[in-house]
């Protein structure tokens, strides 16, 4: 049945059911067209997802079960790569380094960015100037941050130890003493807290004024107000920062690699800076152990998922979301 019904004036003598069918049909046609247009707009991502995410995931899972050096065909070895990971002392070292870095760095990072945000919140009109000052380091390329680390934390005559010397502290050899390499890198990483400061400042400024007013009326002091108003209200932002930085910390690479690895860099105690992704990178692109590196990548993915899941579960109890009962 063609759409004679839709002719103007033709609708008067038409049976209602016909009209309804007609409407139904044209709506379905429209929605089919709609889906086609939607797919057209989504196509870049769909293609990209298949080629650069889905297929690589499947393929790296397969590679993790093989020996593959790019030159010869992959040779199936079952779970041997995973078994080898369990006995590889460098894996243990890299995991330990990475765990240490993340566990120490993330809380410090959160505390420093919270302290700076609280100060900025109280600084009145000067806050936008200081905001810029704190954010600029975040724009610095990580390679340059790695260079700065080597220079400022130089044990003999670096700026950090010079300043410590003014206070009578004999600074450690940050860049060469294995015990101090990671703390040094952690301190350096605190220089780039800028983004977290901005997020927390926005969260602080979003706390409704009335809450503070009523807290005041109820006679709550500074401490009580902080614990019962400020902290719950900014907890989603805090949680976001903790999650994002944990994930980033577990994959830390750039600064440490710049400072301690690469061509001809053997003068350093770089075992202390061998983070998991650095070791993975070496296995994949320096030793061409693509199978082993793929297994390492899936191990990392598993660790990140478990850690994030734990954080999510804990956050359910601690994070306050507005609009939730």
């Amino acid at each position: 049945m063609t759409s004679t019904a839709s002719r103007v004036g033709g609708g008067a003598r038409q049976r209602p059911s016909d009209a309804r069918q007609e409407r139904e049909r044209s709506r379905r046609r429209a929605s089919r067209r709609n889906v086609r247009s939607a797919l057209l707009f989504l196509s870049p991502w769909l293609i990209g997802f298949l080629v650069f995410t889905a297929w690589p995931m499947i393929y790296s899972a397969y590679l993790s079960l093989t020996d593959y050096d790019v030159i010869n065909d992959p040779e199936f070895v079952g779970l041997a790569n995973y078994a080898e990971m369990a006995t590889d002392p460098k894996i243990l070292l890299a995991l330990g380094n990475t765990a240490f870095f993340t566990v120490v760095q993330v809380p410090l990072y959160v505390l420093v960015s919270l302290a700076l945000a609280l100060l900025l919140d109280r600084a009145g009109r000067a806050s936008s100037f200081f905001r810029t000052v704190f954010f600029l380091p975040k724009m610095t390329p990580p390679v340059a941050v790695g260079v700065l680390f080597l220079l400022l934390f130089n044990g003999q005559n670096g700026l950090v130890n010079t300043v410590l010397g003014w206070f009578g502290i004999d600074g450690p050899a940050w860049t060469t003493d294995p015990a101090w390499v990671k703390p040094g890198l952690i301190f350096m990483s605190l220089w780039t807290v800028g983004a977290s400061v901005i997020i927390l400042l926005a969260a602080l400024r979003n706390v409704p004024e009335q809450l503070y007013e009523s807290a005041k009326l109820d006679g709550a002091g500074f401490w009580r107000t902080s614990m019962s108003v400020t902290l719950p209200m900014i907890s989603p932002a805090l949680f976001f920062i903790i999650i994002v930085n944990t994930i980033a910390g577990l994959q830390t690479f750039d600064e440490a690699y710049t400072a301690f690895f690469g061509a001809g860099n053997t003068t350093y105690s770089n075992d202390a800076a061998l983070f998991y992704v650095i070791y993975l990178f070496q296995q994949a692109f320096e030793f061409l152990h693509m199978g082993y590196a793929s297994a390492m990548a899936w191990g990392l993915f598993l660790v990140i998922m478990i850690v994030t899941a734990i954080q999510l579960i804990v956050s359910r109890r601690l994070v306050y979301y507005e609009g939730e009962r």
Partner: protein, 321 residues
């Protein structure tokens, strides 16, 4: 607990508004859309003068700590080799030599050119492609939309290491290893973080506008390209600037794909200078310092040009890690 759909006072859409997307990874919804305007308000609450004074003093001290590494670096770049480590604020022997030397010691001009090419291609392509996809998710209603968008967000949680090797093998198979292509071409397909950011923005636009244009006979593409995109300029600017920063500072990809010194980007080149002239090499720290300054300056300029976009972008969505 989705804080995803920004509730702007929009002329009520004729159809029921967008359904809250279920199945979003919680991390992506952890940040409620912050009112960025709040950042621009000065101190809100009347605080005691003492508090403010204390805050100023503390901020001034911390500000010095945060700025000083830059000052140290710039100052060192004007010092001769023997004085790089003397920690003086004002160089004892002020020299421009390093800035003359650095271009001869390394093909820095070429590195800068390579980086500019990659940065422009990467940021323009990712902005357009992400905007297209974001529009697809924001404007059209189809079954499975929420789940598909959840998948987009889920890809953000995937560590790069998992796909790194097969993606390398793909580019290797295409004979692109050693060229600049792998550093930007992936951006033709959009990027989850920006899709998320732009979709947010599109959802805040009044739907009636687009419906009206459709009724007037505009094609789907024209609605997107002529109406939605121009309205979305602030979010496009954020995307562009974020990507410029991400690409300009990207080391890992450059390490994987670039082999010849001539093809290096600036971060990769700087790393090669550290290898050649650093502690393991010839001790030309003045060259490394100067190259670091030249590497960093463009980012500082970008920040001052686009400060508002960067700060707003960070405040409302976090920064792409």
């Amino acid at each position: 607990m989705t804080g995803l759909d920004v509730d702007l006072p929009v002329g009520g859409p004729a159809a029921p508004g967008p359904k809250r997307d279920a199945a979003l990874p919680a991390a992506a919804t952890a940040v409620p859309p912050t009112d960025v305007e709040a950042l621009r308000r000065g101190g809100r609450r009347r605080r005691g003068k003492a508090t403010r004074l204390f805050a100023w003093v503390a901020l001034a001290l911390l500000g010095v700590v945060f700025v000083y590494p830059f000052v140290w670096l710039v100052s060192a770049s004007f010092k001769p080799r023997s004085e790089v480590f003397d920690n003086r604020l004002i160089p004892e022997t002020f020299t421009f030599d390093n800035y003359v030397q650095v271009w001869q010691e390394a093909p820095l001009a070429l590195w800068l050119l390579n980086t500019v090419i990659v940065t422009v291609l990467a940021s323009v392509t990712v902005t357009i492609s992400s905007a297209m996809v974001a529009w697809g998710f924001a404007y059209f209603r189809f079954r499975g939309r929420g789940a598909l968008f959840g998948l987009v967000l889920a890809t953000m949680m995937l560590p790069g290491a998992v796909t790194m090797i097969p993606v390398f093998l793909i580019w290797n198979g295409l004979g692109q290893v050693g060229t600049l292509t792998p550093l930007w071409a992936g951006n033709l397909f959009g990027s989850a973080f920006y899709i998320f950011l732009l979709r947010q923005f599109f959802l805040g636009l009044p739907r009636d506008l687009f419906e009206a244009a459709r009724v007037d006979g505009a094609s789907q593409w024209a609605v997107f390209w002529r109406i939605a995109l121009p309205l979305c300029k602030p979010a496009l600017a954020v995307t562009l600037v974020f990507e410029v920063q991400a690409v300009w500072t990207d080391l890992m990809r450059a390490l994987i794909y670039l082999r010849d010194t001539e093809t290096f980007t600036v971060p990769r080149g700087l790393k090669s200078l550290v290898d050649a002239f650093g502690f393991g090499g010839e001790w030309h720290w003045e060259i490394i310092v100067t190259a670091s300054v030249i590497t960093t300056i463009p980012m500082i300029i970008v920040f001052f040009l686009a400060q508002r976009q960067i700060i707003d972008g960070v405040a409302s969505t976090g920064l792409k890690g």
